[in-house]
């Protein structure tokens, strides 16, 4: 599984990625509650190479994810509830067909200051 490496288990952070997400053993997928609705996914090279042989919904997810897509967007794309999208995305991530980019939060469970500052700059530039 490819997971953005800046996310890591934290003492009391709101967003906790279980340790097994970082292990080489790829038998487990990210548990549902650990992949929030705004989590972004991108197709890996392996995923794009394998896409033609995938089940239609899996293929649709991987091919849409050449541009970053949130779990919410995957759900909307397939017309399925977020919970269903989360299961499909977890399976694809476990096979290294998708990379998952989780939010980065501090120990208070809120986005870190640096991110808020960048968000503010981006909004002011609009």
């Amino acid at each position: 599984m490819t997971v953005d490496r800046r996310q890591r288990p934290q003492a009391d952070g709101g967003r906790v990625v279980p340790n097994y997400a970082f292990t080489a053993g790829r038998t487990r997928s990210l548990a549902g509650a650990d992949m929030p609705i705004e989590a972004l996914v991108t197709a890996t090279e392996l995923g794009l190479a394998k896409a033609p042989g995938m089940a239609p919904e899996m293929r649709a997810i991987v091919e849409a994810s050449t541009e970053p897509q949130s779990l919410a967007e995957i759900g909307a794309l397939l017309g399925v509830p977020v919970g269903v999208a989360r299961v499909l995305v977890s399976d694809l991530a476990a096979e290294d067909h998708l990379a998952v980019h989780l939010p980065l939060v501090g120990t208070d469970g809120r986005p870190r200051r640096e991110l808020l500052e960048r968000l503010l700059d981006g909004l002011r530039a609009r």
């Binding site: 509650a33 972004l40 939010p103 208070d108 640096e114």
Partner: protein
């Protein structure tokens, strides 16, 4: 304690080489408020794609308010949410989620609110009762929020202090005026929210 990289170093803004694409990071802001208050309109005004809709299935104890039965029962509810997307820079993507304001859906808010930058509570001054529950919710959870008065016809010229009193807006919580149809107006509301979140962050 600050966030850390997987290898234990503290994460800092200088970790990324100039010109390199930084890691993708999602952010989210919730847009809350009563029925028909302008949530979808605000999300549409800001989003770079037409607002999408997604469904979330929830199991909850029905609270008896909408039921004829007095005995709580386990029910599965499908809740529809609109959302929009705003690309902030080469690595930050902001999602806006319009959250159903009806109180029986609030059990889903904890999951949605986790990790959020904050919330915009939209208010229609002609129907203020609809926003109390949202204000209470975010205040209790300690999530930064702003109260945004959606300027429907006939709601202008109201004194802000009277509104703050009437809505019991907590001291320090910003009150803004928006036209939910107007991109610039909605962007300003988000800026006030993020400034407020920054002022409260450690």
């Amino acid at each position: 304690m600050d966030s850390v990289h997987a290898d234990g170093r503290a994460a800092t803004a200088t970790d990324v080489a100039p010109g390199a694409r930084r890691d993708l990071l999602p952010l989210k802001i919730l847009v809350a408020g009563g029925f028909g208050v302008g949530k979808t309109t605000l999300v549409a005004a800001l989003s770079e794609v037409p607002p999408l809709s997604t469904e979330q299935q929830m199991t909850s104890l029905s609270d008896g308010v909408d039921d004829t039965s007095v005995v709580p029962e386990k029910t599965t509810t499908t809740v529809a949410m609109d959302f929009g997307r705003v690309t902030i820079d080469d690595s930050l993507v902001l999602y806006l989620f319009g959250t159903p304001g009806q109180s029986r859906f609030w059990f889903m808010w904890d999951e949605l609110a986790r990790g959020a930058v904050g919330a915009v509570v939209l208010v229609d001054l002609r129907r203020i009762d609809d926003c109390f529950a949202a204000i209470d919710y975010f205040e209790n959870r300690g999530l930064p929020f702003v109260v945004a008065l959606n300027e429907f016809p006939g709601t202008d010229g109201v004194d802000d202090e009277l509104v703050r009193d009437a809505l019991a807006v907590p001291p320090g919580c910003p009150l803004v005026h928006v036209d939910a149809r107007d991109d610039d107006s909605c962007t300003r509301a988000l800026i006030v929210l993020v400034e407020h979140a920054l002022a409260r962050s450690v």
